[in-house]
Amino acid sequence: MASNSDNSAVGMPQLDFSTFPNQIFWLVVFCVVLFAIVKLFIIPRMEDIFANRRKIIDGNIAKAEEIRLRVSEIEKQIEEELQKAKSQCDEIMNASGHNIKEQMASALEDSKIATAQLISEAEGRLKELRDGSEAAIEKISEELASEIISKISRGK
């Protein structure tokens, strides 16, 4: 009871029940004020800070996502270009191969025709020559025969 009369505690001051109403009164006042501070100032402020931070982080994540999408788009474009270039290359190679074959075929055809012509020409000439030689032999033999006859008749 008389805890503060002689400036020294007798036993535990905690068990001095006469101080309880006073303690509880001030504790209740303290709790109510503290709760008001927590509810009105601390929580809104902390939530605000947290929400702000969240917003910025989310914004950055969204930005990163956007950049990632763009990168994948660019990659797709590159892939497309590559594909195009490849197919073009294939086409060119195909076309040139085809050309070469065609040219070769036509060259072969040309040479075949030329040789055929040459052969027929040569045959014609040969025939001509043969005909020519037959006529010449005939002529020579005729001349020879008439000469022989004249010689014989003269020799008589």
Binding site: P13, I24, I49, F50, N52
Partner: protein, 247 residues
Amino acid sequence: MEKQSAFNIHPMDQFIIDPILTGDSLEWFSFTNQALWMLISLVSISFVFIYGSRKHQLVPGRLQSIAELMYFFIRDMIIDIAGQEGLRYFPYIFTLFILILFGNVLGLLPYSFTYTSHIAVTGFLALSVFIAVTIIGFVKNGLGFLSLFWISSAPLALRPILLIIEVISYFVRPVSHSIRLAGNMMAGHAVIKVFAGFAGALGLGAVAPIFAITAVYGLEMLVVVIQAYVFTILTCVYLNDALHPGH
């Protein structure tokens, strides 16, 4: 305490409720040293949480980090223990936590008064938690709240015995809850005061008790935070029991 002869040690004097404005008479409304330290605690809390984070910094400074650390520590603790529904009671639990934490920490200052060392204070807080949790339990679950005492996972024969044990342990909660905190605070401070008394009486030999005070003081810094944490986490556990009584 009663040893007035050689050593002049009064380790319990620091807990005396002293009306500092109205002379010696202690009415229920007298402004006491305890009320003063509650006020100081209020100012400190406002300093850390309101002044410290006044700039709403994205990257927090020192004080704001401390405030955020405490805030999200308690928030995460409630979610971990009592689930998302527990967050509704976050303002109350957070108030309880900083009230006890600042009371404990400020109590370590020399010449200060530790309001959490008084059983009236901790008892009031523990009883408030007990009553609030019981009401929440019945409001949320109706009579289903009583399934907290009827352990359906135990064999049927054991259940009546467990019922008695559970009911007793339930009603012992506010007692253990409050005495744990007040006892820890009182013991630590009394020990420091006893060693300080030795130091005063020993002259040059005071080096040993002063070393002991330093050691106990370091330990007390730990205890002070842990007890605030324990009080809060137990509140969360009780709240979880009220929200989900079916274990």
